[in-house]
């Protein structure tokens, strides 16, 4: 029982990272009808920005954190202007290919600067964790979970209770109609890219102390997050969060009880099962509303 609780905690912690990246996938998909295959690289770039500010320059952790997020917001702007905007009137295919190209560019730029060896980033807290009854709560995982909860609440408030959130929703549901009402569609899409880049970056910064900071971390996280969006029901915000958490828990339990080397395999096994038996995902019906 103790082990179950311990695994559940770790699983939710890692699942929260997938959930943040999955949320970024879904928000961009809803705004542009395109899957952003560079979403994972946002996490990777943000983790390396942390290494630059916090490790290489030795600046305070909180300052590095804020600067990295600001850097991600800027990357969101550049990504929107450089990758999406010029192709916005084309079909989805050129845009998807452009996002793949951008992800290769980002990974190889970082590779050119830092080389292939992984970097190490310290966690936010000096205390490694606290013992709560039978469960050991790792401080970094606690931080990840707390930030994710805060973001989910923020996300809900923002989209349900602000005019800007409503305009973003309107834009994702019917761009032409939104423009007829005077909503600046290109601004809304720009904001979506900024928000998604920051979300992905946040996930990368939070998970970096748990993993190593490496060129591959982006694609690993993105694949899991993408699987999470399909499990949750593609295009559904709640589904992305639930799917991400579920995937984290499943792979943690799979690693503990079945096989550690096949840890990554469990996520994709679940993905395949969903694709075969419930391709619309957990919250699939609600996606149909968007049509």
């Amino acid at each position: 029982m103790d082990l179950v609780l311990q695994l559940l905690f770790t699983g939710i912690g890692i699942g929260a990272v997938y959930a943040l990246v999955a949320l970024g996938f879904v928000l961009i998909f809803r705004a542009t009808n395109v899957v952003n295959f560079a979403q994972g690289e946002f996490s990777m770039v943000a983790a390396y920005l942390m290494v630059v500010f916090s490790v290489d320059l030795g600046w305070p952790y909180w300052l590095s954190f804020l600067l990295s997020l600001a850097g991600m917001a800027l990357l969101g702007v550049i990504f929107n202007l450089g990758v999406y905007y010029p192709l916005r009137h084309r079909s989805f295919l050129p845009v998807i290919i452009a996002t793949i190209g951008a992800s290769i560019l980002m990974a190889n730029s970082v590779l050119a600067i830092y080389g292939p060896q992984p970097q190490v980033l310290q966690g936010w807290f000096d205390t490694p964790g606290i013992q709560l009854g039978p469960v050991y709560l790792d401080s970094q995982y606690l931080l990840i979970i707390a930030v994710t909860i805060a973001l989910v609440i923020f996300n809900y408030w923002f989209f349900e209770h602000t005019m800007l959130g409503k305009k973003l929703q309107a834009t994702s549901q019917d761009k032409e109609m939104a423009s007829l009402l005077g909503i600046s569609v290109s601004t809304m899409i720009m904001l979506t890219f900024i928000y998604s880049a920051v979300l992905g970056g946040l996930a990368g910064i939070l998970v970096a102390p748990v993993l190593f900071v490496s060129i591959q971390m982006g694609s690993t996280i993105a694949l899991k997050a993408f699987a999470a969006t399909i499990i949750g029901g593609f295009g559904d915000v709640t589904g992305a969060i639930i799917g991400g958490l579920a995937l984290g828990v499943i792979e943690t339990f799979g690693a503990a009880y079945i096989s550690v080397p096949y840890k990554d395999g469990f996520a994709f096994l679940v993905l395949i099962l969903f694709l075969v038996f419930r391709p619309q995902g957990i919250f699939g019906e609600r996606v149909a509303e968007k049509a």
């Binding site: 602000t162 005019m163 409503k166 309107a170 032409e176 007829l180 005077g182 509303e289």
Partner: protein
């Protein structure tokens, strides 16, 4: 001076010429109805005015200023509100949110938009009780009411209505045209209709569009008087003389 003055408007979709030199004017305070069969170019005319479709040539003057080629976000800020074909209510937002978003062309605080949306239900009492319902749950008639209410939230000087009666039960069409008669007291309207009888009942002036060209324009009774037109578009019984 005319509020809207369209001169020689040409719109092409690829090889197809949808409008082949349309000219029409709408004076302030008028309701002008644009009649015509499917594919005559009625919707295209409205899309060109609101900026959804870029004209190939010709002029569109709003209040004397050229607006052809401007984007829809700019044109609605100038005071032209387009309620497009098919209502286009955001399905995942509530009725009230849909209506509030209609004021996106103006600088207004959300609390102000909320108050204005509530006031809008006085004109559309039938949809008041659906204020909190999501767009996709509404019937066609309710959707059309929301669409017109949303269009009015822009506080337009010119309201473009595209086939508001399409697919609605006669009793709802009548309620809708009662509202349009109400709207005309404060707002100039360019109305596109296939239902000629209803369309002309509220109009000061009518145009008949045929395969991208204006073939006739006149006051409603003059249009009724034209036998060929009455037969072809207005459901009259006279024989068409070649």
């Amino acid at each position: 001076m005319a509020l809207l003055d369209i001169r020689d408007l040409v719109v092409r979709y690829g090889e197809i010429e949808a409008l082949r030199g349309v000219s029409l004017t709408v004076d302030p305070g008028q309701v002008v109805t644009l009649l015509g069969a499917n594919g005559a170019g009625k919707s295209t005319t409205l899309r060109a005015i609101s900026g959804l479709t870029k004209p190939a040539s010709g002029e569109i003057l709003f209040d004397g200023k050229p607006i052809a080629g401007l984007g829809p976000e700019t044109i609605v800020r100038l005071g032209i509100s387009h309620v497009p074909e098919g209502r286009r209510i955001f399905p995942g937002l509530t009725v009230k949110e849909n209506i509030m978003l209609g004021g996106s062309n103006r600088r207004a605080a959300p609390s102000e938009l909320s108050r204005e949306a509530d006031a809008m239900f006085d004109l559309f009492p039938d949809i008041r009780k659906f204020s909190g319902a999501l767009g996709w749950t509404l019937s066609g008639g309710q959707l059309q009411m929301v669409a017109v209410a949303r269009g009015l939230m822009a506080k337009p000087r010119l309201l473009l209505l595209d086939e508001p009666s399409l697919g609605l039960a006669p009793v709802i069409v009548q309620a809708l045209f009662k509202i349009i008669a109400e709207i005309r007291r404060t707002t100039t309207v360019l109305l596109v209709e296939q239902n000629a009888r209803m369309g002309l009942s509220v109009a000061d002036y009518g145009y008949v569009l045929e395969t991208g060209r204006i073939v006739l324009g006149g006051k409603p009774d003059e249009l009724w008087g034209n036998e060929a037109i009455a037969a072809a578009y207005l459901g009259g019984h006279a024989k068409i003389s070649a």
